[in-house]
Amino acid sequence: MHARRSRHRVSGSSLPGSVVGLLLLCLIGSSESAAPTPPNPPGKVPEGVILVKGAWSSASDSVTPLPEGGTVTSREYNSPYFHLSYPISSGWIQQYAGPPPSESGYYVLAQIQPPDAQKSASRGTVLIAAQDMFFTPSPAKNALELVSYTSSHLRADYVVERQPTEVRIAGHSFVRLDYVSPVATLHWAVLATQIRCHTVQFTFTSTDPELIEHLVKEMSAMKLPPEAGLASGAGGGDAPLCVKDYAGGGNVLNRVDPIFTDRRYNPIPVRVVIGANGSVKHIHFVSSFPEQAKTIATALRQWRFKPYVINGKAVEVETGILFGTPPNKALISGRQDPQLVPARRQAPTWLTAVSLCSSMARRMVFRPTAKHEQTSGPGSSPSTTAPVVSSAMRWAASTFSMRKSLERRSRSGRSARLAIYTQASSRPSTIYAAR
């Protein structure tokens, strides 16, 4: 599981919120200046190590378990985050660790296969994956719906052998989908359950259906948390409750928007654990660049939430926030809204983010949509900890600036369209070469 755990974490979960926040800032700040893995042997760039990373996963501390933080031994896959252990079939191994989590919250947790799969008589693979249901691009709300969605969207290359069906494994509800590629004579069995608002999915692939059945039977020795089920997996017990979209509306008492100064166009899914006192206790950056994580952490440590109350008692809660610009509308689940108009930017983002269609730009600026107004801050909750610029102030400033700008351009005979293009093109490119 090389490189699956953040190198920049701290034990701070039991510290007061402000201290934790400060540590968060310092630690994530250090992630930028910290040197990548030193060469080994000295004087050489190490082989087989990804030192220059794109968007990657990281976290605010090294103690809180993460979905991607499971381990694979010769006997089992174990995930402290999911409270799950899966016995690995005798002799099978993980030859290759999976990629980092995707920007839509998809995790490859483990890939198990026989040793020397090219020569093995029993060819097959076990793929253990998870989809964070806060960020799934599909319309599915739980494991059952996600597997049903997969089934209904299978391509013509496959034939369904078993429609999504509820089965019991190790005392828990799973949904099972079987399909086959007739041309490749490859069979797939997908078994999924939901844990902590993730669909945890076991996919068995082989040309040998009996092998698949054998592997499925071995799942009975799995250990799962009590919450695991088709739709029931919403945390609780030793884990925080997971609640979709909790970081929105009236639940947010104080909010400071992160201001991205460099990279701005990648979705940044973030899971946060909110303490019983309403402050952010833990941040998991599912996929972000280091400087984005730093910026988000700086903002999030100033957020305050309504405590989540059950039976009169405030409890920890886990939710998802999507920062950055989502690539499509399907990804807006749990999104943090204001990326079209981040606070305290000297140049309104629409100048760079919006197309050259000046009429659209004008509409956005002069007539803020309900979404904009909703997203520009907790107007009902005054800031207590940070110099938050209110939504009204931001809109007033950007609108005034825009009007003045258009007036100037109009007087000088230049069109708004041209002016916008000039502004958008003024940022330096980081491109190195054509190939």
């Binding site: 490189a3 040197a35 990548p36 030193p38 060469p39 000295p42 004087g43 050489k44 760039v45 190490p46 087989g48 990804i50 030192l51 220059v52 990373k53 794109g54 968007a55 290759y96 999976g98 990629p99 980092p100 995707s102 920007e103 839509s104 490859v108 890939q111 296969q113 799969a117 060819r123 693979t125 793929l127 994956a129 989809q131 799934t136 599909s138 969605y149 969207h153 290359d157 496959y158 590629s181 041309v183 490749a184 490859l186 797939w188 997908v190 990279r263 166009y265 990648n266 690539p327 499509n328 399907a330 983010a353 958008a424 490119s429 980081t430 491109i431 190195y432 070469a433 054509a434 190939r435």
Partner: protein, 477 residues
């Protein structure tokens, strides 16, 4: 003696049977170049509407672009260098015809023999060989003063192979080549080969929404595949050209290549380009290596007056800069046409195509994107399917292919899904041209951190005959 020889002969026989039944890359497909009637090694075929000269005059822009794409540049007159990789576009983009990828015989290995560079001031780097791919080189990290790589200081820019120093038309410009030997010893050296350019006008004309819809259709693929787009830093739209999809448009791609690969400044990259170390640490190029063409900057510009009638093309086509002419040429190049029968026969190819889809290759190597947006340039570019076998996303390819070079939002291990149209007639594969064997290239997709490992496992689970069908299918493209 006979007793000893008999088992040996038996063993050889077994090996031969085994080798005959094992799957092998059929090699570069013969027959029509790019599968197109009329194409020759020096005359690629343009899009149908360009051939039909619709709109009027467009064909001459293509022909003019093709002509300039083959132009051999010198320092005097053109502005070659002072640092460069080769002296013409077509020298490296020539397999199987002009506009393609690396040829089987590497012209970079002959630059001294051909008098392109001075052997007194240049040497051929060890990784440039006669039968190897044309390459550009990069150092993923800057070096410390003591010669060790500084892994805290990512570099990643192109280290030009050659200098003009010692050429008769280079004055007293004196530059040294980068320390490729030192970089190789420090494992701080990676390569890129030319991307083929056929059909790129269609790729450029795909609306972002079409690519996003294709991405959304892959949700729940069950193969461990994620993927995202490399986005233009200026406006957030999808970039799609280059090994890491770092370039937004063919104009940009063309301008950058002219500057980086050939050292010719232009209206998009208006200065002569130093090495990354010269720029960041050394104050740029020395004064005696600037303006060697003695005509000022940029060296490639729009020609405000049309050229004389001696020009073989119309006056209109002579006006744009070389960069725009290159871009026109690329934009109008027709995509390769797949063979339905070669290699292996129609049944094998058809079966291989179905297998390619079934085992999951097509999740990333999307066979066809439908379709391009309407074109205001020439009809063939509009409302057309793009059978590129790519989703134009960047994917994590793991430690095996990682090159520790970041471009735009792509990290060291992230690469654009390489379009496979035309792969049947390519000689070298993967971003650095490390192999000429398709089977090796397929298996190189699996390593720790790669999104493709499960798909490669599926490929490995196929019988040898089925794997052969996949290889035949790929070589039919």
């Amino acid at each position: 003696m006979a007793i000893i020889q008999r088992p040996a002969a038996f063993a050889v026989g077994i090996l031969m049977i085994s080798a005959a039944s094992a799957q092998t890359d059929p090699g570069v497909r013969g027959g029509a170049i790019n599968g197109q009637a009329g194409a020759t090694a020096t005359n690629p075929v343009p899009l149908a509407s360009v051939t039909a000269n619709t709109p009027q005059g467009v064909l001459e822009f293509f022909d003019d672009g093709l002509d300039r794409f083959q132009e051999v540049d010198a320092v005097a007159g053109n502005g070659l260098g002072p640092r460069f990789n080769f002296n013409s576009c077509s020298g490296c983009h020539s397999q199987p015809t002009i506009g393609g990828s690396s040829p089987s015989i590497n012209p970079e290995a002959r630059v001294i023999a051909a008098g392109i560079v001075s052997g007194a001031t240049n040497s051929i780097p060890a990784f440039i060989t006669t039968n190897g791919p044309t390459r550009e080189a990069r150092f993923p990290f800057f070096f410390n003063a003591n010669g060790t790589p500084n892994t805290s200081a990512p570099n990643g820019g192109v280290e030009s192979l050659f200098t003009v120093s010692g050429r008769a038309d280079a004055g007293n410009c004196s530059l040294q080549q980068p320390s490729f030997t030192l970089a190789a010893q420090a494992n701080n050296l990676i390569f890129r080969i030319p991307t083929p350019l056929f059909g790129t006008g269609l790729v450029q004309n795909i609306d972002d929404s079409t690519l996003l819809a294709n991405q959304a259709a892959q949700v729940g693929n069950g193969l461990g595949i994620g993927g995202n787009f490399n986005r233009n830093g200026n406006d957030g739209t999808i970039a799609r050209f280059g090994w890491k999809a770092q370039n937004k448009s063919l104009d940009l791609f063309s301008a950058e290549a002219y500057n980086v690969e050939m050292g010719i400044s232009n209206e998009t990259f208006p200065q002569d380009r130093p090495l990354p170390g010269e720029e960041v640490l050394g104050g740029g190029l020395p004064a005696n290596c600037l303006n060697l063409a003695a005509k000022g900057y940029p060296e490639d510009i729009t020609h405000f007056a049309a050229t004389a009638s001696s020009d073989p093309f119309t006056q209109n086509a002579s006006i744009p800069s070389d960069v725009i002419a290159f871009s026109m040429f690329m934009k109008f190049l027709a995509p390769p046409v797949a063979s339905t029968t070669t290699p292996g026969g129609a049944t094998s190819i058809s079966h291989g195509s179905a297998l390619f889809n079934s085992i999951g290759c097509s999740v990333c190597h999307t066979p066809t994107i439908r379709s391009t947006q309407p074109s205001n340039v020439t009809p063939s570019l509009g409302n057309a399917p793009v059978a590129a076998f790519s989703d134009f996303e960047i994917h994590h390819m793991g430690t095996g292919l990682n090159d520790n070079v970041s471009q735009g939002n792509a990290g060291g291990d992230q690469f654009r899904t390489a379009p496979l149209w035309g792969v049947g007639q390519r000689v070298f594969f993967l971003h650095d041209g490390r192999t000429s064997n398709l089977l090796t290239a397929i298996r190189a997709h699996a390593s720790s951190g790669s999104e493709a490992s499960t798909v490669v496992a599926n490929f490995n689970s196929l019988s040898a005959a089925s794997q052969q069908d996949v290889l035949n299918f790929l070589r039919s493209l």
